[in-house]
């Protein structure tokens, strides 16, 4: 069975496909989250040095991985929309941005809460946390720029250019912050100093999968609303069951 993938590049076909996928992603995400939390809090033992506090990593590490991953995906979709002029790609980028920003915030918040028992301070300017903060600024810049432009086409393309410039900058920013941090010697404690036990790793990967599926479900739901908004004047939207009521 050959699937014509390009068919789904059109909003009219993507909309129902996304609609079918969302419940599956949502349910799977919830199940994996429950499993992950069980593995992380009941099965995995307390850490030798950090005690119970280390259990924050099961939400902190997935959120920070996802925050960076979602930025790259958002920039990739935006770039596709800019280069190939595909409307749906730009809509996906716009849909992903808020989720990425929220994951970045969660990474920062949980990072701070982990830092307090570890290093005694709510915020330490270590390279990773500082880079996360800058990443949050990049997300907010993308969202603000898109929101400030009334014409959707110009908004999509301008924000896409910004996202591309941002993603090129991310390695430069990360490197310079790392440098800055080692020069201003603060604490050298690493987040994952000791090698992790198998159960801890399993819990972390389960939570990572759960967050990933959650992000997909949310982004797809958001993009369906965006599609409805942008395509509201078309025939196929008028014929939709949820519109006809």
């Amino acid at each position: 069975m050959a699937i014509n993938w390009f068919k789904y590049a059109a909003p009219i076909n993507f909309y129902p496909l996304a609609g079918k996928l969302i419940p599956w992603f949502a349910i799977l995400s919830a199940l994996l989250c429950a499993t992950g939390l069980y593995l992380g809090f009941v099965v995995a033992p307390a850490d030798a040095t950090q005690g119970e506090f280390y259990r924050i990593i099961f939400i902190h590490v997935p959120s920070s991985i996802l925050s960076m991953f979602l930025y790259m995906i958002m920039a990739a979709y935006a770039a596709m929309g800019l280069i190939f002029n595909t409307r749906l790609s730009s809509m996906m980028a716009t849909a992903i941005a808020p989720t990425g920003a929220l994951f970045t915030f969660i990474a920062l918040w949980t990072g701070a809460l982990w830092g307090k028992p570890m290093w005694g301070a709510w915020w330490v300017w270590d390279a990773r946390l500082t880079s996360e903060l800058i990443l949050l600024f990049l997300y907010l810049g993308f969202i603000s720029l898109h929101a400030s432009i009334d014409d959707p086409r110009r908004a999509d393309r301008a924000a896409a250019l910004l996202a591309i410039v941002g993603s090129v900058n991310v390695p430069i920013i990360y490197f310079s912050v790392k440098w800055w941090n080692t020069l201003h010697q603060g604490s050298t404690i690493k987040f994952t100093g000791t090698s992790m036990q198998i159960t801890m790793q399993q819990a972390m990967f389960t939570m990572l999968a759960a967050c990933w599926l959650y992000a997909m479900a949310i982004a797809l739901t958001r993009v369906r609303s965006i599609i409805l908004e942008r395509e509201r004047n078309t025939q196929w939207v008028a014929e939709l069951a949820e519109v006809k009521q």
Partner: protein, 225 residues
């Protein structure tokens, strides 16, 4: 004699003449720079040791903020009177015109900051060596700020959010320049090797020179269609 260099000089000359006619815009940005720098001691106290340590960071952040303020002017005047539209239609490469505009913008907003640095550095009791290095890093860095900022200025052309939105977009991208610039001055102060910081800044400058005019031209086309 219509070489690209001739075109570049033409644009630079034109923009400089226009800037001189609106001297007030240029001067107010410089006054802003001086005022921001003077606010820090008022805020944190006059203890000279602390001020000396803060100085490179304070001057660099002030330079960043002043650049952000002045970047709004880069394209807005030409956008409002229709010249920018004409520039987009010209057969010569738009990136050349953009480079010319950025160069003249830097000459009236970045370069004066570099020249003002010794005076402000003395306010913070910086050593001569430190002031010298600070001037060098600002000399290398302010063009980068103008160039990266030009992308932001092109993207936010004619928008309500204006200057603040531009700052929000551009400031994160300027952080590496800030880090290397202040790092070099601190290295000089503590007697360590500056070559790494300076070569990295040089690399960023070259990268910016190669890519930003073209990216800015694309951003202008996006904003103007």
């Amino acid at each position: 004699m219509k070489t690209l260099f001739y075109l570049l000089m033409l644009v630079v000359r034109r923009d400089l003449i226009l800037a001189m006619r609106r001297r007030a815009d240029v001067l107010t940005t410089l006054i802003f720079f001086v005022m921001v720098v003077s606010l820090f001691p008022l805020g944190v106290g006059p203890e000279t040791d602390m001020l000396r340590k803060m100085a490179p960071g304070v001057l660099w952040v002030a330079a960043l903020l002043s650049s952000m303020l002045s970047l709004g002017r880069l394209f807005s005047a030409d956008y409002l009177d229709g010249t920018l539209e004409q520039m987009l239609l010209v057969p010569q490469p738009l990136s050349m015109l953009v480079l010319g505009k950025i160069a003249s913008h830097w000459m009236v907003s970045g370069l004066p900051l570099v020249l003002l640095t010794p005076v402000l550095g003395l306010q913070f009791d910086m050593s001569i060596a430190a002031i010298g290095m600070l001037m060098l890093t600002l000399l290398l860095g302010t063009p980068i700020l103008s160039m990266v900022g030009a992308i932001g200025a092109a993207l936010t052309l004619g928008l309500r959010g204006g200057g603040v939105l531009l700052s929000l977009l551009v400031l994160p991208l300027c952080i590496p320049v800030l880090i290397f610039g202040t790092g070099a001055v601190q290295a000089v102060v503590s007697g360590m090797n500056v070559s790494a910081h300076l070569s990295l800044m040089g690399a960023l400058l070259v990268l910016a020179l190669v890519f930003t005019p073209w990216v800015t031209a694309q951003a202008l086309r996006i904003s103007m269609e």
